[in-house]
Amino acid sequence: SRDELVCGSSNVSLREFGCEQSLLSRPDGSASFVQGDTSVLAGVYGPAEVKVSKEIYDRATLEVLIQPKVGLPSVRERSQEQCVRETCEASLLLTLHPRSSLTLVLQVLHDDGSLLSCFLNAACMALMDAGLPMSCLFCGVTCAIDADGQIITDPTAAQEKESRALMTFAIDSKECRVMMSSTKGSFSVHELQQCIAVSQKASEKIFQFYRDSVKRRYSKTL
């Protein structure tokens, strides 16, 4: 059912997704986010003491570390770390904790496509669990354009491989605008704008999920 997605009229979908928060005892906030088979574990420490070399006088220093499943982090992980860090920096109110450190560690548990968007979603849930003050929430959506020019949201690894272009966007919860964009492959302006519009639609579903999970946590009954 996920294969026939016609742009404009069709049923583009997100794979089943889920999240568990506070599952680790050591970090101040933790979450595991699952999208289909793709899953990421996130842990947040902070605000805590900061190294003098990394201290910033008017805000907290955020460090993001991505741990691949096999081997050591490479240049690709560094670039993803930059994307996640700058997205988090834009939504966190870092000026409330000057001269302190925040550390966000993201561990890949399984990669079955849309990994960067899963990193973003796990990061946001973990930051929420840590109770850090934020100006808005954010979520990640990955879109692929297949050989026939059709848009596939939240693609699997196999769909990513077949695709002609791949884009991941971070969308903010306040105005549903693009916070982060990372693309691969070449595409037209039209395709880009369509993917942005689709991601904005999809982000509504994810933000609703965020809301539901918070409601569930603070309600007295399951």
């Binding site: 742009c7 404009g8 009229s9 069709s10 049923n11 583009v12 979908s13 997100l14 089943e16 997704f17 889920g18 999240c19 568990e20 928060q21 506070s22 599952l23 680790l24 005892s25 050591r26 970090p27 595991s32 699952v34 289909g36 088979d37 899953s39 574990l41 842990g43 420490y45 805590a48 003491e49 570390l65 741990q67 499943k69 096999v70 081997g71 050591l72 982090p73 450190s101 550390t103 560690v105 561990q107 548990l109 399984h110 079955d112 949201t153 302006v189 039209h190 704008q193 369509q194 519009a197 689709v198 639609k201 999809a202 579903k205 999920f209 539901d212 999970s213 569930r216 946590r217 309600s219």
Partner: protein, 431 residues
């Protein structure tokens, strides 16, 4: 980040409790915490929960050239990652004392015990063998990382399947899982590490210490053993002296624990095999608890695509079309070009010319260079049509009390005066 120090009163409390044979979590001296073994979606991925301690192991393989000393054997590689997620004191990419210790112990436990048949990993003798890599990631540190890591590693190795290979002449083909069923490793026995912590110079002993207990312990004894009660490695650290009887007692306890744990691993592997055969989904997504208030799951959801195309069209059409007229670049000398009227470079163009004109005769070079000088002067504002007049105007500039001239004047009037003269004469000659 620095570790929070343990308060003296907490330390005293812990030691006192141990003296009274009581443990923080209500366990008995020889009890293990609750253990849970789950598997990931791929082969060779295993999660172990030991109380609150969490560890993940992933096995992967690669075709490499064998070691020269052992041309018929595959290579085993172990790597324990102390991820900063497990504890704020762990730093990424830094070899700490603890990580070296754990890595050494895991190697002793799984490589030196020869529990894996490395000869079966040979593909072409002396040329291609399989390298099996085991990555163990610590996810949450609540004590006894070693036992959790050893259980995760051996379970992942048992779970792992490597791709099948075919050899035709010199060609080695690696078959995908769709073409041929992947092959499990041949494992002779399963060594499992059991940790004992000692308190008050070895007077008290606890099995499976938690993080708090580890912080007040005096010494640690790690025994790696298989279910046939064969000791694969024994390691004591922390600088306590143990009596022969103490070691014997520990090894007896270890043999009981090892047989229990081996049974649990076999059962977990069996269950996973059944689930995979049944074709059901297995892996991390399935292991997520449903009954907790901190967990939530959402089924596959469609995204409405109405308006999306219209919206995209709208944005593209409303946008200003890019200007079609493009400024023409200036090419002062071959190999150099410039575009844009914004800022002038503080770095002139002369240097670049030199590289380009290397092969030209000296005379030409001089002409080019001086020409550039003149051009530069023009840019700087003194827009003289005729080069000869420059000398006059510069003298005038010295008289005028322009804020910039005092700096410039001495620079220009001296050396450049002669050059300009030369340039002018050269130019005239050419004409």
């Amino acid at each position: 980040m620095k570790d929070t120090p343990l308060a003296n009163c907490e330390r005293d409390f812990l030691l006192k409790a141990i003296e009274e044979k009581k443990r923080l979590d209500g366990r008995q001296t020889y009890d293990y915490r609750k253990m849970k073994i789950t598997f990931g979606t791929d082969y060779g991925c295993c999660f172990v929960e030991l109380g609150k301690t969490r560890v993940m192991a992933q096995v992967s393989c690669e075709l490499v050239a064998p070691k020269e000393s052992r041309p018929n054997e595959g290579i085993m590689f172990f790597n324990i990652e102390l991820s900063p997620m497990a504890s704020p004191t762990f730093e990424q990419g830094r070899q700490s004392e603890l990580s070296v210790k754990l890595n050494r112990q895991l190697e002793r436990c799984l490589r030196n015990s020869k529990c894996i048949d490395t000869e079966s990993l040979c593909v072409v003798s002396g040329e291609k063998v399989w390298q099996i890599r085991v990555d163990v990631h610590m996810l949450n540190h609540d004590g006894n990382l070693m036992d959790a890591a050893s259980i995760a590693a051996i379970t992942a190795l048992c779970h792992f399947r490597r791709p099948d290979v075919g050899i035709q002449g010199d060609e080695v083909t690696v078959y995908s899982p769709e073409e041929r069923d992947p092959i499990p490793l041949s494992i002779y026995h399963m060594p499992i590490s059991v940790s004992f912590s000692f308190f008050q110079q070895g007077t008290y002993l606890l099995v499976d210490p938690c993080e708090r207990e580890e912080r007040v312990m005096d010494g640690l004894l790690m025994i790696a053993m298989n279910k046939h009660r064969e000791i694969c490695s024994i390691q004591s650290s922390g600088g306590i002296m143990l009596l022969k009887e103490q070691v014997m007692r520990c090894s007896k306890i270890a043999s009981v624990k090892v047989s229990e744990i081996t049974e649990l691993i076999s059962k977990a592997l069996e269950n996973d095999k059944k689930a995979r055969k049944a074709g059901g989904r297995c892996g991390f997504a399935e292991s997520m608890p449903q009954e907790r208030i901190t967990a939530l799951k959402m089924d596959e959801t469609p995204v409405e695509m109405t308006e999306v195309t219209d919206r995209a069209n709208d944005i593209v059409q409303k946008a200003e079309a890019p200007s079609q007229t493009v400024p023409s670049p200036v090419v002062p000398v071959p190999g150099v070009g410039q575009v844009g009227q914004g800022l002038q470079n503080t770095w002139g163009l002369e240097e670049e010319d030199e590289e380009e004109e290397n092969d030209n005769s000296g005379e030409d070079e001089e002409v080019k260079e001086t020409k550039m000088e003149v051009e530069q002067h023009d840019k700087e504002g003194s827009k003289q049509e005729d080069v000869v007049e420059i000398s006059d105007s510069e003298e005038e500039e010295v008289v005028i009390l322009h804020p910039e001239t005092p700096d410039k004047a001495p620079k220009h009037t001296g050396p450049s005066f002669h050059q300009k003269g030369a340039a002018a004469s050269k130019k005239k000659q050419k004409k």
